[in-house]
């Protein structure tokens, strides 16, 4: 379903990965991440293998490396924490460029960095090849409670409207000479956040009324679309299965 909804993590391409049903991609990403997280941190070769697998998926999905790298920066705050581990860690220490580093801390930092990056890139590939709408459809088909998928559907629809509301209110504030420079001047901003909440709340009531008027009785109609085929499940299973194979092999030969 090509809704063409613009969201910054989606890359609109025609590729075999894009064509896969959303639910198989979600399951594959989840299983792959579990395999990565379950791999002992000393199995350096295994992590190299996982990275190669993701590179393969990225190529198949026609997602450029620079595009991925730019968006993977979201993990930086978490990785920054890892940088301190080699300095703060206890136990055996090693010399490197005149610094005494904890071996355990180094392993800990590597663990966070490698697993974090692989997980983020896998999720980015999922997001790049699947629209938000399809992600919700996929979750729905995976029997995620409809309360969650319904909330996500509404969020998808109304986030833009809410952002527009907020933008208009900001412009209206600026137009009346509001230009806060100090903390004690933020009162108007805080008040308008409250006003925005009230507007959203009232809109929620009106939306509900409009839905009830069209016969809503507490259940959204199910999307009538073809679900994933056996072939699609098999194709997307390739990623976690290969990852598991790499992980097991590395563990056996170390």
């Amino acid at each position: 379903m090509g809704a063409g909804h613009a969201h910054p993590l989606h890359l609109d391409r025609a590729s075999p990965v894009h064509r896969l049903a959303p639910e198989v991609k979600i399951v594959a990403t989840l299983l792959f991440t579990i395999v990565v997280v379950a791999t002992p941190r000393e199995e350096f070769a295994a992590f190299g293998g996982y990275a190669l697998l993701l590179a393969g998926v990225a190529t198949a999905a026609r997602v450029p490396v620079t595009w991925l790298a730019k968006r993977a920066t979201i993990e930086l705050p978490f990785v920054l924490l890892a940088v301190f581990l080699p300095f703060a860690g206890h136990g055996e220490r090693t010399e490197w460029l005149g610094l005494t580093l904890s071996v355990d801390g180094l392993h800990g930092a590597w663990n966070i960095f490698a697993k974090g990056t692989l997980g983020v890139v896998a999720s980015l590939l999922l997001a790049a090849s699947t629209t938000m709408r399809d992600l919700i459809v996929g979750l729905d088909r995976l029997r995620v409670p409809s309360v969650f998928t319904q909330i996500a559907t509404f969020m998808l629809r109304y986030l833009d409207i809410l952002a527009d509301d907020a933008r208009r209110m900001r412009i209206a504030r600026l137009s009346r000479g509001y230009d806060p420079r100090f903390l004690w001047q933020v009162k108007a901003f805080a008040v308008s956040v409250g006003a925005l909440f009230l507007r959203a709340y009232e809109r929620g009531e009106r939306v509900y009324l409009a839905m009830v008027s069209r016969g809503y009785q507490g259940r959204l109609p199910l999307a009538t679309q073809s679900t994933a085929t056996g072939t699609q499940w098999a194709q997307s299973a390739a990623l976690p299965v290969a990852a598991a194979a790499i992980g097991v092999t590395a563990a056996m030969f170390s």
Binding site: G2, H5, M211, G215, Y216, P221, T224
Partner: protein, 246 residues
Amino acid sequence: MSLRVEGLTFAYPDGSTALRGVDLSLSEGERVALLGPNGAGKTTLVLHLNGVLHGGAGTVEVGGLRVDAGDRARLAEIRRRVGLVFQDPDDQLFMPTVAEDVAFGPANLGLRGAELDARVDEALAAVGMAAHRDQVPHHLSFGQRRRVAVATVLAMRPELLVLDEPSSNLDPASRRELAEILERLPVTLLMVTHDLPYAMQLCPRSVILDDGQIVADGKTADILADETLLHEHRLELPFGFHPVRP
């Protein structure tokens, strides 16, 4: 008789009385404008027509079927018969694509598959929006969203179409296009509006609701020509506009 409202009263939980005995009947295929100042009770009346609000005295009948809030099956049929188009299309359109939103109503009626698709196509064609079926509502112009909002209720094949301020916030061309669409629809139409020329253009008959009561009911041309009546109920013709009998 398409719609019959008799002795309808309603007070909100905070005690403010919104309707004080409203009587209103619409024949099949009739187009009627519901006029009145802000706070007159227009929206309250409209929300009674499909049973969203209830609990006061009086009765509402749609196509001979009495609105009864306790009877779920009947309420579902009433909500199919009465199509409510709300003022802000963003309140009405909540699904991620136009087609899914138009399908929402008929899907609630139990339609599925090809039949549902046909309903969606038919409704979108009726408002000239068939080319936009897979678009995101947010990416449409305001006038287009208003037309899609009309389609979302047309897809339920209503007998009575109720529009809340259909011409508000539309540019002149969109306003005219919507009028042309509404004129062609083979349904009974009740149009809540402050846009008196629009009432003149579309509705041969008008009623004025003020302070919870129907205070005037007659030919739109006669009502709009009665300056004293309009003035009493805070209604005003736009500058330079003079109603002419068709």
